[in-house]
């Protein structure tokens, strides 16, 4: 019996020893800043690592990196691309663990600000980079007077993309007011065409409806109060009214029947539009580039057109206001090595938003948010790019997408509860109560 006890003691000692050893290893990699372990990993050799997101302009990221690597073989850069789903989680975990990329893809707004506040992101000070941005774009990445990101793609206001062939077929004109939009629903339904395509499973494509309607009904102040975490900010009547309009549209059959099972990444929502099974889509202008890549013939035939989100009769908001993403950005990791910081800063100045880069983006009918693009835009005569330029120049207010503008905890609640509104599983009153409870949550 005593030998069993001795064995147990030895086994326990081994276990405790091992646990302590591992715990000791663990404490060395605590999420702390400025540690000796700083810098990116996961790449081959000593290349600076850049993270990008798959999307309409991702070919340009690769082209820019290729050009850089050809010119600077001694300062290699490696581009790693990711899908939209899960990228934000991955970035946060990587940064928290001190394993982030040297140059990270971001949306600006509250999410980036959280990284800035915790000291994970370095400001960009090169005037050559800062000065080329349009003010609305720069605002998204400016905190305490410093700039923390360089725009890498295009201005993405949310617009209504529509299939003109389908509109001609039923003899309809694109809506200029919300009431006209609602009146179009039975017109398309009668022809067996879904009025609006919506990728409901991804949840974020539902946000612009609320963002725009609240802005049109009550003006930007309503959401500004939410951003400022003012008590009961969601109780503004504009929110309830917007939610009611959304549920009325759902009940009227405004959206494609199976929208709750469509994820945006599969391209099914875009496909509904260009195959003529749906007439319209309220979506980031980015979708235009996506469709141009997926169905070039359809776009060349001139059947893909766009109008701004309609005005709302009786609303106090300016109908010229925009909701969307002013741009996406690359931000510099504060824990990168000095050599890598130098490499990526030079890369941003030299290869991002140079004439070649801008030209590629314009080729996809997308408009980069930089002043240096003006000449090339004037040279080309692209209807969609022209619309985006007109809209952004005329907009008194360009609201960053709501899920990026508030902290991630609130954003998760927002997308979930808005999903339940679209599914008619909860009422506007319940939504307001649930969202008010998230205010002031850090």
């Amino acid at each position: 019996m005593s030998s069993t006890t001795a064995r147990r003691v030895r086994a326990t000692a081994a276990l405790i020893g091992a646990a302590l050893a591992l715990a000791a290893c663990g404490s060395g990699t605590q999420p702390q800043l400025g540690g000796a372990t700083g810098g990116a990993t996961g790449g081959s050799g000593d290349a600076a690592i850049v993270w990008g997101l798959e999307g309409g302009q991702s070919d340009s990221y690769q082209a820019a990196v290729d050009r850089w690597n050809a010119d600077h073989p001694d300062q290699p850069i490696e581009l790693q691309m990711f899908g939209n789903e899960g990228y934000k989680d991955k970035l946060r975990i990587a940064l928290g663990a001190g394993q982030g990329p040297d140059l990270m893809f971001s949306w600006g707004g509250a999410a980036l600000q959280a990284y800035v506040d915790e000291g994970y992101v370095d400001p960009i000070e090169d005037p050559a980079i800062i000065d080329r941005h349009l003010p609305a774009v720069l605002d998204t990445v400016t905190f305490d007077g410093k700039v923390y990101g360089a725009a890498i793609n295009n201005m993405q206001p949310v617009v209504i993309l529509y299939n003109d062939a389908v509109f001609r077929q039923v003899g309809a004109t694109p809506p200029t007011t919300w009431d006209e939009l609602v009146e179009l629903v039975p017109v398309f339904e009668a022809q067996g065409i879904a009025p609006i395509a919506l990728a409901g499973q991804s949840k974020w494509p539902q946000l612009p409806y609320l963002g725009y309607l609240v802005d049109r009904i009550g003006g930007p102040e309503v959401f500004d109060a939410v951003i400022a975490n003012e008590p009961d900010a969601w109780s503004h009547p504009a929110v309830t009214q917007a939610l009611t309009e959304i549920q009325d549209l759902v009940e009227a059959g405004g959206f494609v029947d199976d929208y709750a099972s469509i994820a945006y990444e599969t391209g099914a929502a875009d496909a509904l539009l260009y195959t003529g099974r749906a007439a319209m889509m309220v979506v980031l202008s980015q979708a235009y580039s996506n469709i141009k890549n997926a169905a070039p013939d359809f776009v060349e035939a001139g059947d893909l057109k766009a109008v701004p989100f309609p005005a709302y009769d009786g609303g106090t908001g300016d109908p010229a206001n925009l909701v969307g993403n002013p741009s996406n950005f690359w931000s510099v990791n504060a824990s990168a090595t000095d050599e890598h910081k130098e490499t990526v800063q030079a890369f941003l100045a030299e290869q991002v938003m140079n004439d070649e880069y801008i030209g590629e983006i314009l080729d996809r009918s997308a408009v980069p948010g930089v002043t240096t693009a003006r000449d090339q835009i004037a040279e080309r005569d692209d209807a969609f790019a022209g619309l985006v330029v007109d809209l952004t120049e005329a907009a008194p207010h360009f609201q960053l997408s709501w899920d990026q503008a508030i902290n991630p905890s609130q954003a998760e609640q927002l997308t979930t509860h808005l999903d339940r509104i679209f599914l008619l599983q909860s009422t506007p009153e319940e939504f307001v109560a649930e969202m008010n409870a998230t205010l002031d949550a850090k």
């Binding site: 091992a18 591992l22 999420p31 946060r92 499973q201 469509i262 496909a271 509904l272 599914l423």
Partner: protein, 315 residues
């Protein structure tokens, strides 16, 4: 599944000569407890230490960046009073029961069918096993596209009985998820049952056949009782395993529509990594670990698995 030292069946003591079994035990080389070290180090380092970390984190407020701040019991209060926690626990239970009800009969019948030797059966077993080798995310992506209500098999071009927004309708999405999980995991359990059925001595069937028992009678009177511990093993794996379904459901539905497929592990992930409330997510993780532990302990106790008596006494 089998204990390393064959226990002498109760009541059999002394029937094979007094004292002999004891001496036989002594003659063996003493096994050093150090052999346990690798397993203990792995288990301690990758299970116990993180578990302790999660419990500690559950008392803090941490968004994944910077230093966690002590919060006391706030997270626990919030998690336990949140309707969503109980709702997701309910969804998890439904999936647990559903997967067991679907997978057990299927894999039992398939396993028993594939057990006898034969080229055709071996070929089928190999082909059938492939589903288990695929990554869960790949399986989820394939089914997501197949079930796409516009461009997939569930669309206008597919067969009529499939035409439904399986993943978009809160009433059918759980059924779809359970069936897809079954497609993915039935091969594993089939393998267990196949191996179990192969160990049943043929003499039992021969004797039964001589007594005039038909196929059905032989299945219920010989195969099922002989597979008792295989059923317990497979069920434990299924039930406890259903507490860990994450990747497949996350890719397939991301927990939606609404909360329809938000399993507890998915709720934990969304709370921790999307809403960046690591403290609260850690509290959910602890609940998950406790439920899983209680479930597997309870199952092995209830089923008599721990006593592990031979099913072939007297053969």
């Amino acid at each position: 599944m089998t204990s390393p030292v064959p226990t002498v069946p109760a009541g059999a003591t002394g029937t094979r000569g007094d004292g002999v079994p004891v001496r036989r035990g002594r003659e063996r080389q003493p096994v050093s407890a150090w052999l346990l070290a690798p397993a203990l180090i792995l288990f301690g380092g990758f299970a116990l230490v993180p578990l302790g970390g999660a419990v500690a984190l559950s008392f803090t407020s941490w968004n994944g960046l910077g230093t966690p701040a002590w919060l006391g019991l706030d997270n626990w209060g919030a998690v336990l009073t949140d309707d969503v926690t109980w709702l997701t626990l309910g969804v998890t239970l439904k999936v647990m029961v559903g997967t067991w009800l679907v997978q057990t009969p299927l894999s039992l019948l398939l396993g028993v069918y594939l057990a006898p030797r034969g080229r055709w059966r071996a070929w089928m077993a190999a082909v059938y096993f492939v589903a288990l080798l695929l990554s869960s995310s790949a399986v989820a992506l394939v089914f997501k596209n197949l079930l796409d209500p516009n461009f997939g098999l569930a669309g206008p071009s597919g067969p009529a009985f499939l035409q439904h927004a399986w993943l978009g309708d809160p009433n059918t999405v759980l059924v779809a998820v359970i069936l897809i999980i079954a497609w993915h995991f039935v091969p594993l359990h089939t393998l267990l049952y196949q191996a179990g059925a192969r160990q049943i001595p043929g003499s039992l069937y021969e004797a039964a056949q001589l007594d005039g028992a038909g196929t059905v009678r032989r299945f219920f009177s010989i195969t099922l009782p002989q597979l008792r511990y295989t059923i317990v093993t497979s069920s434990t794996l299924m039930l406890v395993g259903s507490l860990t379904y994450f990747d497949l459901v996350f890719v397939l539905t991301a927990g939606g529509p609404g909360y329809a497929t938000r399993l507890l592990p998915l709720h934990m992930y969304l709370t921790g990594f999307t809403a960046t409330e690591m403290g609260r997510a850690s509290a959910i993780a602890t609940i998950l670990a406790v439920v899983g532990l209680a479930l597997s302990l309870g199952l092995t106790r209830l089923s008599g698995f721990t006593r592990m008596q031979s099913q072939q006494e007297g053969l």
